[in-house]
Structures are given as structure tokens and as C-alpha cells.
Amino acid sequence: MTALARSAVTTSAPRAARTGAASAGWSLLFAGLAVVPLLTGELTTYRVGLVLIQGTAAIGLHVLVNWSRQVSLGHAALVAVPAFIAASLSGESDLPLAVVLPLATAAGAALGALVGLPALRVRAMQVALVTLLAGVAVDRFALALPWFRRASLSQVPSVQLGPWPLFTNRALYPVLLVVFGAAVMFTRQLDQSKVARALKLLGSSDQLAQAAGVPTGRYAMFAYAYAGALAGAAGAMHAYWVTRVGTASFGLAASLLLLTIVVVGGPGSIAGPLLATVLFVSRDVPLWLPALSLMAVIVVAPEGINGLGRALRRRVENRRHR
């Protein structure tokens, strides 16, 4: 009932104009992203690709954490399993991207729903504990299974788009951009829907949402599945982009990084978490930085980057009115 409600109350500009401006901003961003491989080298393109992949996973976790106030402490596991599945299906089974990507996304959604299953009966706190256990269980057990182990040994083959193999990062980049763009657009659409309102109500107060007739358990579970689906898509893209899957990419540090990104991003628009993704992924950051940022932001500035943005906008608008 804090940041979201307040931002809704203090909105003074007409809603339509504001959505229009936001859409223009997003279009501009995508236009800029589209020319990245044309203007920069393989290495920069690779980095930007990593940002897009993490960004896709972060958008899903943002819906879970910042909208519905549920927490996934082992979120990297939901990226890891689809990544291993994608590596195995495209490598050993030789399936095309058009089949592997939806399958990985579905696997992520299913895993998310499974982890979120207790949400039907218990409060967010207990579900969060389950996500911790599930994360460790996946890390220690599932990824050590022979089928997954084999997937991590071989290189992921390059994507074949019709007759053209996409050998280089610059060639594969458009595929990545389409997946990321779909995640952004779909989540922005979702934000306008009844579902988003229900999730945000659930996030502000369990009891309030129940009193308003929201089936809170099912909505919370949906949020877990949605976060899982985007994590799955990110996992598949990770497999193709990095061309190798290893358990090292998906441990506690990866889960912490994702959580930090959405907490630093703050409740509200998906722009916050995406900016945070750029901050933490666009270059190598020392491990203590995300840990310290998570702590500091929660205590000092719980509304994160989005909160800063809102404060800035209020200032500008107040000045204009004077």
C-alpha cells in the first residue's frame, strides 16, 4: 500500500498522455538496441545480450516480487533447469529453436507453479522458505542428474534459422532482442489488465485482496508461474548465447543478483529493474556489490530506482504548476 498507491494518487498528468510518452520511450529504446550489433563489435554485442537475458528473467521476478510481494530466493534454479533442458534438446536431440524456446519457457512456468504451489494454502513467508529449499534441491540434485550432466559437457549448437545458421553473436542477437521485446511488451500489456491490479492489491495487503474477492492463492501461484516462464525463456537464451551451460552460472550468487536487481529496481514500472540490470550486468561487478546494494536499498531507499524516478517527476511537475 506504499509506493504503488502513492504514485497512483500523485499522478497529475493525464494518464493517456503519460502512457503515450512511455510507449514512445520504449520504442526509442528498442530502436537503439536494434542497431547495437551494427555499431559495435562482437564483445559489446555479447555483453548487451547478457543484459537482455538477465533483463528478461528480471522482468518476471519483478512481477513476482514488486507487484505481488512474493519472494523467490532460489530464482536462478528456475533459469538453470530450462537452460539445461534447452542445451540437451538442441544438442542431443537436435531440435530447432522454434521448438526448444517454447518448451523451455513452459518448463520454467511449470517449475515456477510447482514452487508456488504452497501459495494456495499458506502465506508468502512460508512459500519463500520453500523457494529456498527448492533452489538448493535443484542445484544439488537435479543438475547433478546424468541427463543434465551430459548437457553441460557438450557445446550448444548454433541456431539454424531456415537455411541460415546463426554462427556469430551478432547474427543471433536479433533473436534475443525479439524474446526480450516480447517479454517487455507482454508484461506492459499485463500491467494494464485486471490480473496486474489483483496482484498489486495482493502485494499491498493479503487481507485487503481477499476482502475484495481476489482468489489470492491462485494469483500468487500465477505470479510464480509467470516469473518461472520468463526465467525459462531467459534460460534457453542463455544456453544459446553462452553456448555452454554449467552449474556455476546458476548458484546462490546468481539468485542473489536477480533478487538484488528487482529490489534495486523497486516497485512500479519495469524500467527500474531493467536499469538495475544494466547497472549490475553490463560489466563485471565484484560479488560484494549486489549483497551490499540489496541490504542498503531495502533499509535506506525501499522504493529503489523507480522511487527516485517518481520523486524526480513529482519535482518537475510541481515546478511546472508554479
Binding site: 513467508m125 519463500a128 527448492a134 546462490l252 533478487l259 540489496l294 533499509v299
Partner: protein, 288 residues
């Protein structure tokens, strides 16, 4: 098989001691400290370093290590738990998750990421009881765990501070109004919790290979015991911890597949939460 069960009891008592630290904090402030494992880990490494590498006498090293962990517990309270006092449980949980990760990174800097093997606290031949072997270290661990459980119980039931703590656990706001030292008591519980984590970590370290991540396994088992035992009922949580250790011993004996214990625990907890959600959640959860 019987030997595995006997070993399980002693490991379980250490798990129980570890969980007791989480119970103390949960009871006092309705918070789950996700840095509990790392708090203990730092203590165990301080002990291992000063006693082995610098040759300090064991008792002094133990006291120093416990003091460091207790201080970390108090720091967690001051830096995260208290500023977030009016926030939701989830927010504090994320904060302590950050502290745990930060301690892990710091430990990697200070103690290195290598493995180390810790000798038992008491050397000597194992004692044979009816064909079963019990090491002296196991006996010591069991005795310490039971003594500390009894000590915490005594503290809560039979001292003035214990009565304060109970009152604060029930209704913090009223306790503040009638002039109880709420903040001091909160720091006391977090410090006590940190000390318990250090003792558990020091006792378990000779039984496992020590690395900076070695307490994350204990955190998983502690959290499981917490959920299964009902969060703030110390003896039920302790019982659950022993049961988890037994289960782990049997799984390792029968299957020797890595991580199977975690899968079984996760599955069991999901099943229990779905089947009997209210029986397990602490009674005052609704107000938190």
C-alpha cells in the same frame, strides 16, 4: 544401520542447537534470519584460524569465536532488523539474505575459498556401548546441545529477562508502553542467536569438510526444522531437527546420491504445508 541412527542423533542435536538460534530470533521479533548460517560460519572460521594457525588455547579461541558471532548477530539487528521493524517479514528476510551473502563474500576474502579439515574438539578412542561406537566429540556435542537447550529454557522461564522476552514476544507495543527495554532485549536475542550459531558451527565443523559455504546446508536443515516444528516452539523444532538428521543419515546410507536429502525435505515441506497449513504456522502469524 543402528550405528547410522546413533550418529544421526548427535548430528541432529547439533542441527537442533542451530535451529534454536533461529527460534530465539523468530520468537522475539517474528523474523527469520537468513544470515544465521553465515553468522555461525564466521565464528567457526575464527575459531579454526586462531586455534590452529595461531596456536591459541582452545577455550580462549572458542570464547572469542562465539563473541564474534554474537556481535554479528547484534549488528544484523542494528543494521537491518531494527530499521525494518515496521516492515513486513518478507522485507526483513531479504535484508538478512543480503547480510548472509555479504558475510560469505567477506569470508572468501579473509579466510580464502579453500577447504579445511578440523580436528575433533576432544581426541581419543571412541567409546563402545553395546557394539556401537560413540566418539568423544559426539558425546561432547550432545552434552553441549542439551545443556544449551536447558539453559535457554531456564533463561526464558525462570529469569526476569526471560519474562521480559516472553512479554515482548507476545505484544511488543504494550511491552514498550509499560517500559520494558524492548530494544535491549531485541539485541540480546539476536546476540544469543549468533552465539548459538557459532557453537553449532564449531561443533559440526570436525564432522564435515569446512569451506566458507559449509553452513548453507545447515541453514536449509534449520529452516526445514523451523517450518516442520512450528517456528517458535523450541522443542518441536529441535525434535524436527533430529528427525531430519536421521532421515539424512538413512538416505546417505541407502542411496548416496548428492542432494537427495534436499529434494525429500522440499517435497515433505510442500506436502505438509498443503495438507495442514494452519497447524504449522505459529499462532500469532496473522498479526505479523
Amino acid at each position: 544401520m543402528t550405528q547410522v541412527l546413533v550418529n544421526g542423533v548427535f548430528v541432529g542435536l547439533i542441527y537442533a542447537l542451530f535451529s534454536l538460534g533461529m527460534v530465539v530470533v523468530y520468537d522475539g521479533s517474528r523474523r527469520i534470519n537468513f544470515a544465521h548460517g553465515e553468522t555461525g560460519m564466521i565464528g567457526a572460521f575464527v575459531f579454526a584460524t586462531v586455534s590452529q594457525d595461531h596456536g591459541l588455547p582452545v577455550p580462549i579461541a572458542i570464547v572469542g569465536a562465539i563473541a564474534v558471532s554474537a556481535a554479528l548477530g547484534v549488528l544484523t539487528e542494528r543494521l537491518v532488523a531494527r530499521p525494518l521493524g515496521d516492515q513486513s517479514q518478507l522485507t526483513t528476510m531479504l535484508g538478512t539474505f543480503g547480510i548472509g551473502a555479504f558475510l560469505l563474500v567477506m569470508a572468501a576474502e579473509i579466510f580464502g575459498a579453500g577447504l579445511r579439515v578440523q580436528p575433533p574438539l576432544i581426541q581419543g578412542t571412541p567409546i563402545e556401548v553395546g557394539g556401537l561406537l560413540i566418539t568423544r566429540h559426539q558425546l561432547l556435542a550432545g552434552a553441549v546441545a542439551i545443556a544449551l537447550f536447558a539453559g535457554v529454557e531456564l533463561l526464558y522461564r525462570h529469569t526476569r529477562i526471560g519474562i521480559y522476552l516472553q512479554a515482548i514476544a507476545m505484544t511488543p507495543a504494550s511491552a514498550q508502553v509499560i517500559g520494558l527495554p524492548v530494544n535491549a532485549c531485541s539485541m540480546l536475542t539476536w546476540g544469543l542467536s549468533g552465539a548459538l550459531a557459532a557453537v553449532a558451527a564449531i561443533l559440526i565443523s570436525p564432522l564435515v569438510t569446512m569451506s566458507i559455504g559449509f553452513m548453507s546446508a545447515l541453514l536449509v536443515r534449520g529452516v526445514s526444522a523451523l517450518v516442520l516444528g512450528g517456528f517458535n516452539r523450541a522443542f518441536l523444532v529441535g525434535g524436527a531437527a533430529v528427525a531430519i538428521a536421521e532421515l539424512e543419515g538413512i538416505i546417505q546410507l541407502e542411496f548416496s546420491t548428492a542432494g537427495l536429502t534436499e529434494v525429500v525435505l522440499a517435497g515433505a515441506i510442500v506436502a505438509v504445508l498443503l495438507a495442514r497449513p494452519l497447524a504449522l504456522s505459529a499462532e500469532r502469524e496473522a498479526t505479523a
